[in-house]
């Protein structure tokens, strides 16, 4: 990464942003992302179209996702290397949190 400092701008990711990035490990259009999040989160997270539309434009501007296609007025996006790195860092932090939670349960 050319500069690690920029990362702190994005971390910690909100629950919605984390799931949007996770869904975009494969190319998807907006509604595809919404369905994928529903499925991945087992129905615990819903992302509305206003939230998703705003997230797409911010994430694209920041270079975390990139447009890979457009069909019938539906743009498809996927993660960039930067986006993938930030998602991995997000998961690393979540794993630490989860590790602590499991320790607590073991008491």
């Amino acid at each position: 990464m050319e500069n690690d400092l920029g990362w702190f701008k994005y971390l910690p990711l909100t629950e919605a942003t984390g799931y949007i990035l996770l869904a975009l490990t494969q190319p998807l259009h907006g509604y595809g992302v919404m369905q994928k999040i529903e499925q991945l989160s087992e129905g615990t997270v819903t992302v509305g179209p206003g939230t998703l539309y705003g997230a797409f434009s911010t994430l694209e501007k920041d270079g975390l996702i990139v447009k890979v296609g457009e069909e019938e007025r539906r743009k498809s996006y996927t993660l960039t290397i930067k986006g993938r790195s930030i998602l991995q860092e997000h998961f690393r932090r979540m794993a630490i949190l989860l590790g602590n939670a499991q320790l607590l349960q073991g008491d």
Partner: protein
């Protein structure tokens, strides 16, 4: 069944979009369904069976992506009813006890009001200029200038109020 159209005139402050949404849902419960809009404050309804509909308003200024924007809402089950001065009117059916939302977190909802605030602030210098500039002083036009100034002063007060209300909303959303 005979289609009956009813036109209503109503003005809502830019900070009162949730009141406007509730008003439209209330009309639907009485069997009056929004079918088109006009500027400013013109609402055209069609009379029919009462329904539990959810109305949501979005505010956008960037138009280069408008068709993709509308498609995304359509795919997500929201019908675009029209627009009024940058405000986008969407409608969907209520699903059981769940109220569908176009904004599902406070951060993105705050962004909507930030766009609105930015839009209002662009016009603020024009109003300030109209109110503070000097008229011709004496002569036939001075009364005319005084009247114009008075009208713009009222606009300015209304504007300032709107800006304060919307700023407070953004702060509240960011705090949550």
């Amino acid at each position: 069944m005979e289609q009956k159209n009813i036109r209503k005139y109503k003005l809502f402050g830019a900070w009162n979009d949730d009141k406007e949404e509730a008003w439209l849902s209330g009309m639907a419960r009485q069997g009056l369904h929004l079918h088109s809009l006009g500027f400013p404050g013109i609402y055209n309804f069609t009379a029919g069976e009462p329904r539990e509909d959810v109305y949501r308003l979005d505010f956008i200024t960037d138009r280069k992506d408008y068709q993709n924007y509308l498609q995304l809402f359509k795919d997500a089950g929201w019908e675009h009813m029209g627009e009024m001065g940058g405000w986008q009117y969407f409608r969907t059916r209520k699903q059981g006890n769940q109220v569908p939302e176009i904004y599902t977190d406070n951060a993105s909802k705050a962004q909507k009001y930030t766009r609105l605030l930015t839009f209002l602030l662009v016009f603020l210098p024009i109003y300030v200029m109209m109110v503070t500039r000097q008229g011709p002083g004496e002569g036939n036009l001075s009364e005319f200038y005084a009247a114009i100034k008075f009208i713009f002063s009222l606009f300015l007060i209304f504007y300032a109020y709107a800006i304060i209300r919307i700023s407070r909303r953004i702060i509240q959303l960011k705090k949550k």
